[in-house]
Each structure stands twice: as structure tokens, then as C-alpha cells.
């Protein structure tokens, strides 16, 4: 099995004044080399914290309490801080949601790119680093990159800034990019472009992608597999075909029903009953049970475990077979 990333039973908890917040609670999934995997869930379900856990960027009061993260078969949780630093932005990169906030407003683009190269290659000359940076900027679709290198972030539009972030992530030819809702803050037309370009780039360079989003429609278009996250857990994962055509977990079923689509035009949109529970006092048992129309007493009292339904498919539910 050639997995670039293998996550086993990862738990990341926040020890807040109001109690323990289980932002990520026992999740497992893999990403193969060059594969695009989607991580889907509502806001607050723990997607970003999953990304930051992989990057080793969890700050107090947060802590990875147990589990394993294998990157290229190396256990990252055993890495020293300096080993982790050297991996970040190098073979393992991340892109954030809001392009208006991710670039430092007072530093020029060339500074922010060159430092990323020099952080991982002490011997490279500034001239060489500049050329690599400029070429990467051209690669992500920024015209006249040589001149744009001298610009400040505020001189770019949102879409262009996100392209700059993508270029920065790509600088050191990473094996995996974690893209945390990279198109959520963009206009719909630009969203499409950026998604397409990223997909092409990753295909060309063999970079694997963990695409985090709350938008099932977006991820269905580019990913080969999807993990559906709810309240800190992955409730269902499988290939795009399995998840979209034959969802089994009641939450996934609800999620797919609530996506607007061509053949349901005119009908009112479906909505999942109830509210997202507060992560601080999750219900006992299955976190989804009080919104689920199939819930039994069993769901109320005990937590469902993960069931391997097929080779690619894992579900966390007592009732999915019905």
C-alpha cells in the first residue's frame, strides 16, 4: 500500500475552561500518493483541526491526545519540533481559507516566497530562489510574474491572492497539500477556475491533496474519495461514487439531499432536522442521534464503532444496513 498519509485513531482535544472539547475524536483515514481526498462537514465539525493536527500546528489549550499520523510511513507524532518545522512547507504544505488574511500585509510577495524556499534550503542563492518563486507564480496562472513578485498582497484580488498561496504551497514540490476550504471565500466563477487549476497542477506534479470543504458538490467534482465528518468524527467514508450514489449514513443521506441539483428544480430544498450540537456537550452515544430519523435507544446510549462495509467504505452507524 503506497499511502502518503495514514491517520489512525487520531484524537485532538481542547482543554478549555468549560471542559474538554473533542474537536477531533478518533478518526482514521488514508491518502494515497497523488490522490485527492475530500473531507466534508459542517462548520465546526473539526475539519480544520484535523488539518492543523497533521501539520503539527495545534496550540494550547489543544493537544493531540492519542493516535498516529504516518507521513511517508514516518510517525509524525515522534518528530522533534525542528523535524516538524522542516517538513512543513516542504513535503507537507497547507493552504488556508481566507486569502485576504493568509499573506502578510507588510511583506512583498517575493519576500514571502523566497523565505519559504530558504527555510528548507540554506545553501540556495537568493537569485535561484527568486527564479523558482517566479516560475511557480507563473505556473499558478499569474501573468507577468516577474513584475508581480515586487507587489504587496493588497495589490492582488482575492482570487489572485489565493493563487499566490497555492504557489507558496507548491514551491518545494510537496507530496501532500492540505487545502482548507481554499475556494470558500472566492466568487463562484473564480472558485471554478481555482479548483480546476489545482486539480491539474496536482495531477502534473503527482501531489496528493486533502481538500477540506463544507460543500459536497465541490468535492464530488475533484476528489476520488470522500470522508464525511460530523462532530469530530468521520461518520462515513468511501469512493465518490459510493458516497454520492449510495449514501448509507443518515447524516450523509441528509447532506446529499440538501445539495441543490438540476433534476430537483422547483422543489423545496431538503434540510436536516435539528441543530448542530455544541461540541462541548455532545450527546451520549451517537452525536447525530437526536437529529436522526432512524435512531433507536441503542444510538442514544452507546457510541457506534467503525464498520468496514467494503474495501473502500467505512461507516460509523448501528442502523445503516436497514
Amino acid at each position: 500500500m503506497d499511502n502518503i498519509l495514514k491517520i489512525e485513531n487520531l484524537k485532538t482535544h481542547f482543554f478549555t475552561k468549560n471542559g474538554i472539547l473533542k474537536a477531533v475524536d478518533d478518526i482514521s483515514f488514508n491518502i494515497k500518493r497523488g490522490e485527492i481526498v475530500g473531507l466534508v462537514g459542517e462548520s465546526g465539525s473539526g475539519k480544520s483541526i484535523t488539518g492543523f493536527s497533521i501539520m503539527g500546528l495545534i496550540d494550547a489549550p489543544g493537544k493531540i491526545v492519542s493516535g498516529n499520523i504516518l507521513f511517508n510511513n514516518h510517525p509524525l507524532l515522534n518528530y522533534t519540533p525542528d523535524q516538524m518545522r522542516n517538513l512543513r512547507g516542504n513535503k507537507l504544505a497547507m493552504i488556508f481559507q481566507d486569502p485576504m488574511m493568509t499573506l502578510n500585509p507588510v511583506l512583498r510577495i517575493d519576500t514571502q516566497m523566497i523565505e519559504t524556499i530558504k527555510a528548507h534550503d540554506k545553501t540556495i542563492s537568493v537569485r535561484n530562489a527568486f527564479e523558482i518563486a517566479r516560475d511557480t507564480l507563473g505556473l499558478v496562472g499569474i501573468s507577468s510574474p516577474e513584475e508581480r513578485m515586487k507587489a504587496y498582497p493588497h495589490q492582488f484580488s482575492g482570487g489572485m491572492r489565493q493563487r499566490v498561496s497555492i504557489a507558496i504551497a507548491m514551491l518545494n514540490k510537496p507530496d501532500l497539500i492540505i487545502a482548507d476550504e481554499p475556494t470558500t471565500a472566492l466568487d463562484v466563477t473564480i472558485q471554478g477556475q481555482v479548483i480546476y487549476e489545482m486539480q491539474e497542477l496536482c495531477k502534473k506534479t503527482g501531489t496528493a491533496l486533502l481538500w477540506i470543504t463544507h460543500d459536497l458538490a465541490v468535492v464530488a467534482g475533484i476528489a476520488s474519495r470522500i470522508c464525511v465528518m460530523y462532530a469530530g468524527r468521520i461518520v462515513e467514508q468511501g469512493s465518490v461514487k459510493e458516497i454520492i450514489n449510495n449514501p448509507m449514513h443518515p447524516y450523509t443521506i441528509g447532506l446529499i439531499k440538501s445539495v441543490p441539483s438540476q433534476n430537483k428544480r422547483g422543489e423545496p430544498l431538503h434540510q436536516i432536522e435539528g441543530m448542530v450540537p455544541s461540541m462541548l456537550n455532545l450527546p451520549d452515544g451517537c452525536a447525530f442521534h437526536d437529529r436522526c430519523n432512524q435512531a433507536t435507544n441503542n444510538c442514544k446510549n452507546s457510541k457506534p464503532l467503525e464498520t468496514n462495509f467494503s474495501k473502500t467504505r467505512v461507516i460509523r452507524c448501528f442502523n445503516f444496513e436497514r
Binding site: 500546528l57 518545522r85 512547507g89 504544505a93 481566507d98 493568509t102 502578510n104 500585509p105 507588510v106 511583506l107
Partner: protein, 324 residues
């Protein structure tokens, strides 16, 4: 940029004019300088001659007009006491004051930035709490009292440093300053520290607040996600952003550093403008008081301009109006 400078200069002149009006009338309302200047045994004739010589017999509006016309020629009046041009007296003493102010500013920044950043990065640690408590003390203890304590401890009790006056003056690259000799440095250290204390406290608090805000920004997290060393994240990505508000405040308050140096200069017998103004107030030496106040106002106006220009250098998002 030229349009901006032109606009700002006009504004500055206007401010200077209004201030001259306020200062001039204010100073002419208090006391009678003739009484201070003249031998009590002098007869009526002598008194009237002096009044005429000083121009004090003319109506106040006329006096002001004379002052204004002369001010444009660079003459801010002649000291009643020394019989010399007020401007010359002040400018003679300006290097001493400027050197004291610059050195205190230097001390404040050198200590305040690291302390403030530390306190901002580790707000819960014991050392941070100590730093913040110290800054409150620095704020609230009166300058003159701290000055006297400094003298008592370091000059009288320990005998490490001299307590009064300015030291030997050295020359470096054509600049004359007591900062260039060891004797000079030993003399300036206590008064500079005394003057710096207030500024140091305020910069510490400002730096801490800036650090606390900036450290949670996405671009700091992104900088870490790029694999930059913690040094690079703090010294470049964080520092460059917190410098923006700090430069504003430090720049604007440099004027107040000069203005408030009067207290420190008096305690440490530092031969600067501050000591001159205090002496002049005692003697009701009106031209010197007016000239001093005008120069202080000029400093404030000028520093404002400098800060605005620095701002555009530090923060590329700020575009000077009219420069597009």
C-alpha cells in the same frame, strides 16, 4: 508626494500661527516682568525707560504684530534677562536636550520591544506578569521622585554614577555630543533612564497588546505552515506588523519627551532647553518662554509629518493622499 507635503506644510503653518496667538496672549497675561528685572530702588524715570526699551508700553496687538513680523525674519525676540536673541539661547541648549531625549528613546525601545513581545507571547507566565506590574509602576511613579531616588541610590549611596551636569563632549562624524565620551555616557545614563521610564512602560504595554493581537492572525499561522523558524516568524512577520502602531506613538510622543525633559533636567542639573525654560519662567523672561513654546509646537508639528511619512514606508497599504 509633493502635493501631500505642500498640503501638510500649509496646515502646519496654520497650526503654528494659531499657537503663536495663544502663546503670546497667554504669556502676556501673567505677571509683570519689569518688576522682576528692575532694581527695587530705581526711580520712576528708569522704570519708564526700561518699559519703553522692551516695547512694553505699546498696545498688546502692536506687540504681537511686531513679534509676528520678526518671527518671519527668524527673530523670536530678545531675552529680557540675557539681552541675547531668545532663539540663539534655546538653540545653544538644544543639543543637550535632544541628546537626552534620543538616548532615553533608545533605552526605552531597546528594553521595551523584547519585554513587550515576551509578555505578549506568554501572557500567563510569571515573568510576563512581573513585566506588566513593572510597567504600571513606571507609569504611575512621578518622574521627579524617581529621579531623586536614582540620585540617592546610584550617585550618593553607591557612588557609581555622577548625579549632575553634562559630561565631556566628543566629536564623531562632525557631530558634537556627550554620547561619544565615556564621561559623557556616565553623566547621561541616570537622567536618560529617568526620562525613559514613562515611555518604556507605555511602549511595553503597546508592544504586548500588538503581539497578542497579531499572533492569532492567519498570516502568522501560515508563516509557521511554511516551515519558517520561530525567530523568523517573530522578528519579521510579527515585528513588522506591530511596529506600525508603535512608530506612530513613539514618534508623536517624542515631542512630549522633549517637553517633559524639563523635570528631569531640573533634577539632574542638565544644561538643556528644559532648564532654560524653567529659569525663564521664574524670571518672567517672556521672549524666551514664547520662543521655547513655539519651538516645542514646531517639533510636534514636524514629528507628525515624519510619522506620516514613516507610516507609508512601513505599511504599504497606506497610500499618501494625493500621491496616486
Amino acid at each position: 508626494m509633493t502635493a501631500f507635503l505642500l498640503k501638510r506644510s500649509t496646515q502646519s503653518l496654520l497650526v503654528l500661527f494659531i499657537m503663536s496667538l495663544l502663546v503670546f496672549s497667554g504669556v502676556n497675561l501673567v505677571g509683570d516682568p519689569v518688576e522682576m528685572l528692575i532694581n527695587p530702588e530705581a526711580d520712576q524715570e528708569d522704570v519708564e525707560r526700561v518699559i519703553r526699551e522692551l516695547g512694553l508700553d505699546r498696545p498688546i496687538t502692536e506687540q504681537y504684530w511686531f513679534f509676528l513680523v520678526n518671527a518671519f525674519k527668524g527673530d523670536l525676540g530678545t531675552s529680557f534677562v540675557f539681552g541675547e536673541p531668545a532663539l540663539k539661547l534655546i538653540i545653544q541648549r538644544m543639543p543637550a536636550t535632544l541628546e537626552l531625549a534620543f538616548f532615553s528613546l533608545f533605552i526605552s525601545i531597546i528594553f521595551a520591544l523584547p519585554l513587550g513581545i515576551y509578555a505578549g507571547l506568554k501572557p500567563e507566565s510569571k515573568i510576563s506578569k512581573l513585566i506588566m506590574a513593572g510597567s504600571i509602576l513606571g507609569f504611575s511613579m512621578p518622574t521627579f521622585w524617581v529621579g531623586i531616588i536614582f540620585i540617592m541610590i546610584f550617585a550618593v549611596h553607591l557612588g557609581w554614577l555622577p548625579s549632575t551636569g553634562r559630561g565631556e563632549i566628543g566629536t564623531f562624524m562632525g557631530i558634537h555630543s556627550s554620547l561619544f565620551t565615556l564621561d559623557g555616557l556616565s553623566h547621561i545614563f541616570l537622567p536618560a533612564l529617568n526620562l525613559a521610564l514613562f515611555k518604556l512602560s507605555s511602549i511595553v504595554r503597546l508592544t504586548r497588546a500588538g503581539t497578542r493581537e497579531i499572533i492569532h492572525q492567519d498570516y502568522i499561522k501560515f508563516a509557521r505552515a511554511k516551515g519558517l523558524s520561530e525567530n523568523r516568524v517573530i522578528n519579521t512577520h510579527l515585528l513588522k506588523n506591530i511596529l506600525i502602531p508603535i512608530v506612530t506613538v513613539v514618534g508623536l510622543e517624542f515631542g512630549s519627551l522633549i517637553a517633559f525633559s524639563t523635570v528631569t533636567e531640573t533634577i539632574f542639573a542638565w544644561p538643556g532647553m528644559g532648564k532654560l525654560i524653567i529659569d525663564s519662567i521664574y524670571n518672567l523672561d517672556r521672549p524666551v518662554i514664547v520662543a521655547y513654546l513655539m519651538i516645542i509646537v514646531f517639533f510636534f508639528v514636524f514629528l507628525n509629518l515624519i510619522v506620516d511619512i514613516l507610516y507609508t514606508i512601513l505599511d504599504p497599504r497606506v497610500r499618501i493622499q494625493g500621491s496616486k
